[in-house]
């Protein structure tokens, strides 16, 4: 199998991890899935770095893996350990239904991706398609899940999707921006992590829908 | 990820099953009750008095493993210290009288291989366990047969879910009145050829409950067990070695 197949495969793999995150209720597994997803993203970046000899992408891949596949999962798992909540108790939609919805979102994503100018077929078509689908699925995840951790993961999924397009389709962005983005992500996760802990301290649960009680 | 973790665990634990049950040495296991050669002081019946299940009879001193519940009360009371426990666990026997030990006959005679049984079940034996009013002691040990330590499955011996699938009936407990009929039903439900294995003192003799009118031990008169596994409860090794010897399975 050649590199384009590898790319498509990794992209599809990212999408599958997205599905599984929707299908999962155990937070630990969800985090692991996210780790795999980021790992695949790193592979994509590295592959492109090799094929198109854009060596700065190696750094990107390195950062991605280091942070999203290792650092952030570790941090989130630590939070879960501390607050001792490991299940998405009641999502707004039950799993089969939300998976079917995700199928619909995938179709939409692909449909849209055919409309893009840069190569509506081949690798890029799939990269864009996957990215858009993941974008939608991530948002869907944010909408339907209540636990703050899941929300963080959903946000990161969306971020991955954007990154996928940035790496795979655009000629690539300057290193500074990437570092900035990476830093933002870290900060975001940290902030949300703290938020989660406050939330648990305040409401003995990390159900985000409880936040509505905060309004004066 | 979990894959690697579990493999790591697996490696860390190493192999735990007992390589050769026949040569195992269960330290501290209260097994066979040995009868010493010394003379009894005249008129002493301390051990008989002490024994709760009437497993000991005098002149000469005989111990019936089929009754003995290994409580150990007889050992200290004997003035001439004739009785002592060893950790010998190969006590299974094919006939009831073989379980009666004395100074002349220190150990039950080893189970002899039955050719017919070897041909039929030597490579595959499925057991159905029936607890006929047992206290769950023996049942627990029967359960333990399948665990990581004893792993009886490696000899093609398994406990199965339905008597229709079974070749042998593992009988535990003294057979109370209410369990007599279900026991019979289970036996009838098993396809020929089949055998009974009596496990534990209660199953073999009714031991502490012997002669109680709440028991109905007619079943054992009708069908003689092929193997007696004494003990209260028996050590899984006793069971395994008994079966292996009976079916002539190398370990």
């Amino acid at each position: 199998m050649n590199t384009s197949d590898l790319l498509i495969l990794c992209a599809a793999g990212m999408l599958v991890t997205g599905y599984l995150m929707v299908g999962q209720k155990a937070l630990f597994t969800t985090i692991r899935l996210f780790g795999i997803q980021s790992l695949l993203l790193g592979v994509v970046a590295a592959t492109i770095a090799v094929t198109e000899s854009r060596h700065e992408l190696f750094l990107t891949a390195g950062i991605t893996v280091a942070m999203k596949a290792v650092l952030i999962p570790w941090f989130l798992m630590r939070i879960i350990d501390r607050i001792g909540i490991n299940r998405e108790i009641e999502p707004f939609l039950n799993v089969p239904v939300s998976l079917l919805v995700c199928l619909g979102l995938t179709v939409v994503g692909y449909r849209v991706s055919t409309g893009f100018p840069e190569g509506a077929q081949g690798v890029r078509h799939h990269l864009i398609g996957v990215a858009l689908s993941m974008l939608l699925i991530g948002m869907f995840l944010m909408v339907t899940r209540k636990k703050a951790i899941t929300q963080i993961l959903a946000l990161l999924t969306v971020e991955n999707a954007v990154f996928l397009v940035a790496v795979g389709v655009t000629p690539g962005m300057p290193l500074v921006v990437e570092l900035g983005v990476a830093f933002d992500v870290i900060v975001a996760v940290l902030v949300l992590g703290v938020l989660v802990q406050r939330l648990v301290a305040r409401f003995e649960s990390m159900d985000v829908s409880r936040l509505s009680q905060l309004k004066g | 990820m979990s894959l690697f973790k579990s493999i790591a665990v697996r490696v860390a634990q190493g192999t735990q099953y007992i390589k050769d049950p026949r040569r195992a040495d269960p330290v501290g296991f209260r097994g066979r009750l040995a009868v010493g050669a010394a003379e009894c002081s005249t008129g002493c019946d301390a051990c008989v008095a002490a024994c709760p299940t009437g497993a000991i009879t005098l002149n000469p001193v005989r111990v019936d493993l089929g009754r003995c519940v290994s409580c150990g009360d007889c050992v200290p009371v004997c003035p001439s210290a004739r009785l002592s426990f060893t950790n010998d666990f190969r006590l299974a026997c094919t006939d009831r009288d073989g379980l009666i030990l004395s100074a002349e006959r220190p150990a039950p005679d080893p189970v002899k291989v039955s050719e017919a049984l070897h041909r039929r079940f030597g490579r595959s034996l499925k057991l159905r366990s029936v607890s006929a009013g047992g206290c769950s002691g023996c049942e627990l040990e029967v359960n333990a047969l399948g665990n990581v330590n004893f792993d009886i499955g490696r000899y093609g011996i398994d406990i199965v879910a339905s008597p229709r699938h079974a070749d042998g009936l593992v009988l535990t407990g003294p057979i109370t009145r209410n369990m007599a009929e279900p026991l019979q039903v289970c036996w009838d439900a098993m396809p020929e050829p089949k055998l009974v294995i009596a496990v534990g003192a209660c199953a073999i003799s009714g031991s502490p409950f012997e002669g109680a009118d709440t028991l109905e031990r007619g079943f054992l008169e009708r069908f003689r067990p092929t193997l007696y596994v004494p003990g209260c409860p028996p050590h899984p090794l006793t069971f395994i070695c008994g079966i292996l010897d009976l079916l002539g399975i190398p370990s």
């Binding site: 199998m1 197949d5 498509i8 495969l9 992209a11 599809a12 793999g13 999408l15 599958v16 599905y19 599984l20 299908g23 799993v95 089969p96 998976l99 079917l100 995700c102 199928l103 995938t106 179709v107 692909y110 449909r111 055919t114 799939h126 398609g129 | 979990s2 894959l3 579990s6 697996r10 634990q13 190493g14 192999t15 735990q16 099953y17 039929r120 079940f121 490579r123 595959s124 499925k126 990581v148 792993d151 499955g153 490696r154 093609g156 406990i159 199965v160 879910a161 339905s162 229709r164 699938h165 070749d167 439900a189 098993m190 396809p191 020929e192 050829p193």
Partner: protein, 318 residues
Amino acid sequence: MIPTILEGVRAFGLAILQAVLMLTLAPLLKTLIKMMKARLQNRQGPPLLQGYYDLAKLFRKEAVRSETASWVFVAGPRVYFAAAVSATALIPVLISAAPLEVAGGILLLVGTLALGRFALATAALDTGSAFGGMGSSRDMTIAALAEPALMLGLFTSALAAGTLNLGALVRHALAQGVTFHPSDVLAFAGLFIIVIAETGRVPVDNPATHLELTMIHEAMLLEYSGPDLALVEWASAVKELLYLTLLVDLFMPFGMATGTAPLALVVSLLAWAFKVFVLAIAVTATESMNAKLRLFRVPELVSISLGLAFLALTIRFL
């Protein structure tokens, strides 16, 4: 095209040979998985030939049947066995042509397995035991849930090859040489889940359970003994081998012989054995690393596989 007499005879000859091959190797596969599982649990596990020993013993034993059972109870295992065995004639194993491929393709294969299931599930209701009813109800439920995903997964591969006939499908794949399309991975993942479900493995069903209330497939067999039981056990083993072979045919047919040259056959036998072995390892890993799902969590699993199959279809054809 109706085959001529000669072709017909040849086809049936091949079918018999292939059926015999599958029948011979199926118990081995079952025991192999059992053994690898035992090894993962720090146990030694049964000897590799245990499957054969058990079958041999069961065939020599008496058949005890329920008083309340009718001829349906007797017919059940036989039809189940016949369905599994004749289904083997519809898939290519060593040669890149299914012996009876003129007789039908994927749809017939699925239909035949459904026939076997129907027979066994009906027979299980015949004894009037609650366990039988429970098993048959659950088995039909899970089969019904698995059907759409199974079909979708099969269709993805079939439509890629432009035929529903497994023989033609494999030949198409071989002719193309080692091609790879990302959708294959997804379709494979989807179908693998279904195979797990259809062959009654953890996390859907637990083949080693002793507790009637947790049984699905086993609960239907509780009443069978001796030869009847042997037939069902053997047929289930064949069915499992069949499913794994199906996965091999659809996704990794490489090394399969195109003719009946002895050397090619040997190579293809080795290749097939190796690939099935790899899949068996995958099954073992799945069984050892997952806990059995509650019955009502199974739909989630199945819907995931449906999603995978659908995604494969999308990636492949859009």
